[in-house]
Symmetry: C2
Subunit: 343 residues, 2 copies
């Protein structure tokens, strides 16, 4: 009753030849090995007739490569990662690779567990945004020289490929702009954990800009919000922050979720953006162009990030003596209505 499986052996048996022969023909190695053209055709025909499809699992086991890559991001539902994923998936498909996708939710434990799963599944390489702080954990988890590309976030003390943007410079530019149009009391919104390289670099850019303009840093103006609370739209901390420091005239938000939080809070708090509060955020989202007000943002080149990540990974998979690559891309500051001058 069940449709019995079509394997190499099925074909071999039906044609009264060896599995070797069938495998050779189907892999295009027949000519090099002087297999009779007629026999070749017979095999090809039979394979088509039986609708033979090679079992990639068996193949993976034998060949030691699964043609599968792992993509481990913080949150696949965040448009930032979703768009990178799309590019990576498309490029991977072109190169004959499939993609196992997983989200760590910014949880170390989850990340470690998922990473182990990916490795047990024998993925050929991994692209990931790490949430980890300690390079030793990764060193221990990953085999030596395992093909890996860190994207968006690097990890100090851990040598690996990397693709990301110039976070510090980008943030600094944005803050410079805010200062130039008259803002002095500028808030900085970030997430816990803030040791994540991209976030800490953005903070460094913020601090550096203030320093360059001889503006004293007020640590109270730096607000670190809990990732899960933000994800669950619990904006109470931010609410309180804006109430506590009405003298803040501009905020810089370290990612797109925080910008949404600002829009939401501004609406309920009646603190008008940009009249009462200017806003610039890291990460551009399609709809930031159409929000009220439209949101000034730092756009990362998502397609290029995806392409580069995959490209580097594939290079390492091909080359045995491959040297690690780091790619730092530039961003674009899109000024819109949410940030405006003061006085």
């Amino acid at each position: 009753m069940k449709p019995k499986k079509v394997t190499l052996s099925s074909i071999a048996t039906e044609l009264q030849v060896s599995k070797t022969l069938v495998s050779l023909v189907l892999n295009g190695k027949a000519d090099a090995l002087a297999i009779n053209k007629l026999t070749q055709q017979k095999v090809l025909d039979k394979a088509r007739e039986l609708n033979y499809k090679p079992n990639q699992v068996a193949r993976g086991l034998r060949m030691g490569q699964t043609k599968t890559l792992g993509l481990l991001v913080a949150d696949i539902s965040n448009p930032f990662y979703a768009r990178i994923t799309r590019t990576i998936e498309h490029e991977a498909e072109k190169a004959g690779y499939s993609l196992i996708v997983c989200s760590s939710d910014e949880s170390k434990e989850r990340e470690i567990r998922l990473l182990k799963t990916l490795l047990n599944r024998q993925v050929d390489g991994i692209i990931m945004t790490t949430t980890l702080h300690d390079p030793k954990i990764l060193q221990q988890l990953l085999p030596h020289r395992f093909p890996l590309v860190l994207v968006d976030r690097s990890l100090a003390g851990f040598e690996s490929n990397f693709v990301g943007v110039d976070n510090a410079i980008s943030a600094e530019n944005a803050i410079n702009h805010l200062i130039e149009i008259g803002h002095k009391n500028i808030g900085f919104l970030t997430l816990t954990p803030d040791y994540i390289s991209s976030l800490s670099e953005r903070k460094a850019g913020y601090l550096h800009a203030l320093e360059r303009h001889s503006i004293a840093v007020n640590n109270n103006y730096i607000l670190q919000l809990d990732y899960l609370k933000i994800k669950n739209k619990d904006y109470s901390q931010l609410y309180q922050f804006l109430l506590d420091y009405p003298e803040i005239t501009a905020v810089f938000s370290a990612n797109n979720n925080l910008a949404v939080a600002c829009l939401s809070i501004a609406k309920t708090l009646g603190r008008k953006i940009p009249k009462d509060l200017s806003l610039i955020t890291f990460d551009d989202v399609e709809l930031f162009e159409y929000t009220a007000p439209s949101v000034s943002s730092i756009a990362q080149p998502l397609e290029i990030i995806g392409q580069k990540s995959l490209q580097i990974l594939l290079q390492q998979l091909k080359n045995d003596n491959f040297t690690l690559q780091k790619e730092i891309l530039s961003t674009q500051l899109n000024l819109r209505e949410s940030s405006c001058g003061i006085k």
Copy 2:
């Protein structure tokens, strides 16, 4: 130099026992088979010492199940699919499954190719939003009774599990609302290919609402846009449409991308929403609450869609004599600024 692989045999050899024993112990089948507690401990210890990780590929081959599922959506970068994906991935992980994700880009050829890839990779089941029109193609491609859940879009003539929403009713409700607040000339925006069940049901809902209110259908008011053009932000057709039919006072958009197109066009065309043109769209996006104007939309229960899809798939994987399940969920109409009364 290379870190040699740790396999069952490594452990077996080091401990001078058989692979069988090691496998039994590591799979918790030792007690049932009366393996000495002491030996068990030795195996466990050695496994830990060598940091043994079972090769899931070998396991998959032997056991005939890979503990991997395929998720084939139209476009992973669309927040609608991204959010469903997130839920499915999380639930799958809980159940010990990994997820291979791919996007068809609404292309039949791509969908077929990706589907074949998933099957060759021996995924245990598939969740997909199909772009296909012809049930025979799927019937031919998939083994009989292959665990599959169609999500968002059903396929007439193809018996399978399904999870989606009551598209016709939802659309009809929205149109009813527009009519009740005074609109008569209501445009309907959809995408090619429009045989996709969710889109055609939404259209049916639109038509039905007009009929119920004795409003004659004007086919010119129904605009079908090319998916790829919209994706590439080529809104020229829509632009022309709105110019050609200035008498249209409200449009219903069949998905979120089209709503964005409307926002964009309205901005450049100076046709103010909702003063000159009301808008309600299918699919809610987080930022629709903060756009100018905020967008009235039909929100699908994304989490539930994801959960149900996976739940049904897992049930079929478990149960051998499983009957197909169909789950039609309700939506929620979120009225915001973009739709308002007339006269």
